[in-house]
Amino acid sequence: MVELKPPTDHEHLPTKLGIELIAKFYRLLKAASLYDRKNIIIDRLAQECLQVVQGILQSEGSLFLKIVRDNIFFNNIRITVRPDQYVLFKGFWQEMRKRWIGDIEFSPGLDVEQLKTIIYLLSGLEENNESNYLYMKRQLENRGIHSFDVGKLEFYKDEEIYIDSEDQKRFSKEVYFKSIGLVKEMVESIRQQKALNIRKAKRLMQNAVNLILQDESTLLGLANIKNYDEYTFNHSVNVAIYAIALGQRIGIPKKDLSHLGLAGLFHDIGKTQIPKEIINKSEKLTPEEWAVMRAHPVVGAEMILRMKEWGGLSTRMIDAAFEHHLKYDLSGYPKLTRKKRISLI
């Protein structure tokens, strides 16, 4: 079947122009919250931003930015973001979202003073007010600015849970503790030689990815709960959360982020096969016992191999289980018979 999805070329022109504009516009917006209108920095940043706007209008004929869920579209083409651009992109996205502004449109004729007016209007918008776009439109009209327009942010139904920060907290807690429950359940399934419910784990990790993509702070905050009780499974859940958060920073796509989360959840699965006497031993481990402990990455990889058909997901899970004590220079354990590339996962 023909792949109809557009290619994601990192250097394609709309992305380049879109990121350039976002960079200038975002810097100006941030500066507007720190300096007053007459400040020389504002003047310089506004000039720079206007130059980019005019350049784009001249070459492309139009300039329209639109937020659709996690994405920003530049003249109706989705912007693909490189890892080093991520923070900038996400920052702009968050600034616009919290003001409920979903799209902005420039047209020819804008001058630097008008741009400053626009920026201070945007900067001064109340957070979480759905009517901001109406206020902006009225203000622009009153000031005779016709070269700029804004539109309301469109939220989709499945995003509503994140609008309210209390909801976000509640949902983050739910995902976090359900994940801990899931790891327990998986370990129990392995002990009882029952088939693993990967489907459930996938759904849970999708929620974790959604949460982190929206606002990583709450779930990452929960991942600070470290090892407070030696009989808990939160280490695996924490690894999953950190893995997703890091993964999104370096530009790993959404689907792969959920696989990354799963790889994190199961990375220590080999420990379930270590005898309880060793696991629970409070004294220093003997070299033999350490050897058993150090075998857990291989054991983990073998367990995943046995519980899951070979494919994209199982490879990531095997990689995580096998490599999580190996460093980039291949020091650590297990010792290898031949050099291999360490996966990012």
Partner: protein
Amino acid sequence: MAEEFQVDKKPIDLGSEPPSAEGVEKDEEILLARDLTSALVKAIKAFRFYPSDNPSLVGFREQLLKKFQFFLNKYHSFILQVGEYDLSYKGKVLYENRDIKTSLAFFLYKDGLREIRFVEGLEEWEVQGILDILKQTDSINQLEDDVVTMIWEKDFIHINYLATDEFLEEIPIAIPDNIDQFRKNLVFKPIGHEVEVDLFKEDSEEEVNLEQILSGEKQGLPPVVTDRSLYALTPDEVEGLRRDVEAEIDPTSVFGALDILFEILAVEKEQEIFQDAVNTIIKILDAYLTIGEFSKATDLLKRVNIILKTYDLMDWQLDCIRRIILEAGDEVRIERIGKILEREEVRLEDVNAYLLLLQKNSIKPLITLLGELKNSKARRVFCDALSEIGKGAIELFTPFIDDRRWYLVRNIVYILGRIGKEQALPYLQKAFNHEEVRVKREVVQSAGLIGGSKAIGILVKALRDNDLRIRCMAAINLGKMGNKAALIPLLEVIQSKDFHKKERVEVKAFFNAIGMAGSNEAIPILQQFLERKSWFSRGRTEEIRMEVANALAQIGTSEAKAILEEGKNSKEESIREACMKALKGLLTK
């Protein structure tokens, strides 16, 4: 009444109108929604029924896209509520089917989907993507996937959903209000020993407050953001990272598991686990063959061979590992190779390298494939590989001498010749009676390669064949053998009554063959030929003298050279010229 959606095996009537609703629907939006739902159901039905390369599916997809775009341009969104057995829009049921085996609604509902929402801007790839998902029913592995996961993974921009996952909870998970409550609920006590103690020290005394964490996170910048300033990546590092990410999300990254599987083979002593690793290695090999990655498949087999040669293995381990090589050449894999060779351009050197690592079990399937392959270069690669693999197993080839396909017989003859075993000669003899001249020519070449008295028998017979090329090839092959038994028949032919009447090319081939034989025994006869007054015509005489002189030069012994030296002083101009040219050629050599 809502539309019934039944999966049947009858061809779908593309021209049929969407079923009309009971009663007259007055609301245009609902009418359009009903029409759209009907188009969606029809398209799903078509995608389930027809193979994915059927051209009519494009029509279904385009029609559906048009209807979606028309609706969305007018109403901006289309939200289908998913009931257990029905799909509805704004409270109106547009589809209903209570048969859980065929109901689209139930298919979506059982996975927790409660709403699908299509929004303005919907693109073609998204319509194709959703159809690809919804066409699946029985093919979804319920332990691993569901409709919600598949929609989520597609990461649509203009399609989203509302889903519940409550039904996945066999035992409800209690969400603690605080840490104490969480601790109190702990019932299970397995893993916990901190293996990472050698990597970093945990502060287990630290008291953690759940509410503090949650409330703190919303204030100011998240901690990870502040840490960002610790180290900034250089442009090269960013580029390297980008490449790594691309490699990681590339579908071929699944092959990365291979290294780990080989590491498992190096340490694992438990039979069942070892076997599992071997099975997965075979799956990876299969994948390489399916996509035509012959060089990687070859590397895999080479690694297996290294293990066999260097590891200290128990018998069961040896058997397990040998199985990889055996399966690499079994019928299924060879068929797979055939498919890729017919379908795509692959580097035949890589294919050859792979085939050379196979065992004798691959011979029969390879011959079968040889009989089907159309690509002549690929056939040659197969023949050469079979010539290597088949050493010591000619009995696996000889039954195919009777095959009805002349080209396969010819290939088998070619292979038998290169294997070079005398036991093959009776079969070659049989093949020499083949009605196809190209088979007979191959027999002559193969007999020449095998050599020996039986081969000479075939070649001598071939000297008198009706086909000129066969006679010439037979002569050359006899000459190459360089022994008396081969020389005599050649001398007999040239002394026959009508030999001088034969075409120049044949005359040349025979004298060339005699020269190759390199025996002084031919010299008296060659001398006679050189000195004979005339052959039919002057031109012919000159030609023959030239070939004879060349043959003498090829023999190259002092006796042969003496004849040529003598000829240099002959009264006959053509003898002198022929001898001088031959001696000159000899000097040049």
